[in-house]
Symmetry: C2
Subunit: 167 residues, 2 copies
């Protein structure tokens, strides 16, 4: 798909093509973290009372493809309802959900009109702001919670994937 | 400074004004994490053999203002040399370095020409890539390591600042 390989260069700005490419690179890293995470710890392991890896990944699934779907369709299901739609009990099921979401994001992204990124809308009918802000929030939130999973992995004696390698 | 309040809206892209505003918002959160971190644990506490909070913050200081200075001046000091220039032994010293860096970034940013963001250069004379990529890397890396500090804080029984509050 051409949208995924081109990088529109606009002086003094980051095109949304580039933004998508950045996100997909981060999604590759997150996928590698899922692969590295021990299945028997996914639903139970925690540090300092934080959520489990499975719970964190559920949040990332919810803010990912369903967010972009809302941006495109301009209708939103509530966050909690959307989140409860993601259900998995094995690592493979989580990986499948992750890959399906990535494909959905790739498919939906080119359907976002250039003007839409600067429109104000309520993400999931709840959080009002510019669309670009909410998308950046979703990406940043993925980096944030994935980094917490890095600490979980380290504390379990497992080396996480390289942060800089987005392939 | 007008550059810091305006948000240039270009359809289908994120202007570098907006990018700076995003980064400054993240730097506010990181500052709050520094404030929350117990001084007696800054240089010693670790999980899973990871670097201490002080070491992680030193990396963020190095990739911050000195990176943008390199982008503007087009000359680079080596990373290790730049990092060793940041020295602190108290939380207040770290906060001062952080604030000084933030001011420097605000001052330097408007001096980056719009075209410069898409030029290829070697960050710190070491890492070749588009300038925008390296700047996004620095921001993402700040989110990444700060999130690890969130886990350190939680494991120490301290509630970290809200991730979504960039004020």
């Amino acid at each position: 798909m051409s949208t995924l390989t081109k990088e529109t260069e606009v002086a003094g700005s980051i095109s949304t093509d580039i933004l998508l490419k950045q996100w997909l690179g981060h999604r590759n890293v997150t996928r590698k973290v899922i692969e590295a995470f021990p299945e028997d710890k996914m639903f139970s392991y925690s540090i300092g009372g934080m959520r489990t890896f499975a719970e964190l990944m559920k949040e990332l699934l919810t803010l990912g493809a369903p967010g972009i779907r809302g941006v495109v369709e301009k209708t939103w299901s509530p966050y909690q309802e959307t989140e409860s739609g993601f259900s998995f009990s094995t690592k493979n099921e989580l990986l499948e959900l992750w890959d399906k979401s990535t494909e959905e994001i790739k498919l939906l992204w080119p359907q976002i009109s250039p003007e839409r990124f600067h429109e104000t809308d309520k993400y999931f009918g709840q959080w009002e702001g510019r669309i670009y802000w909410s998308i950046l929030y979703a990406i940043d939130n993925e980096i944030h919670h994935r980094a917490q999973a890095y600490v979980y992995l380290r504390s379990l004696g497992i080396e996480p994937p390289a942060f800089w390698d987005r392939s």
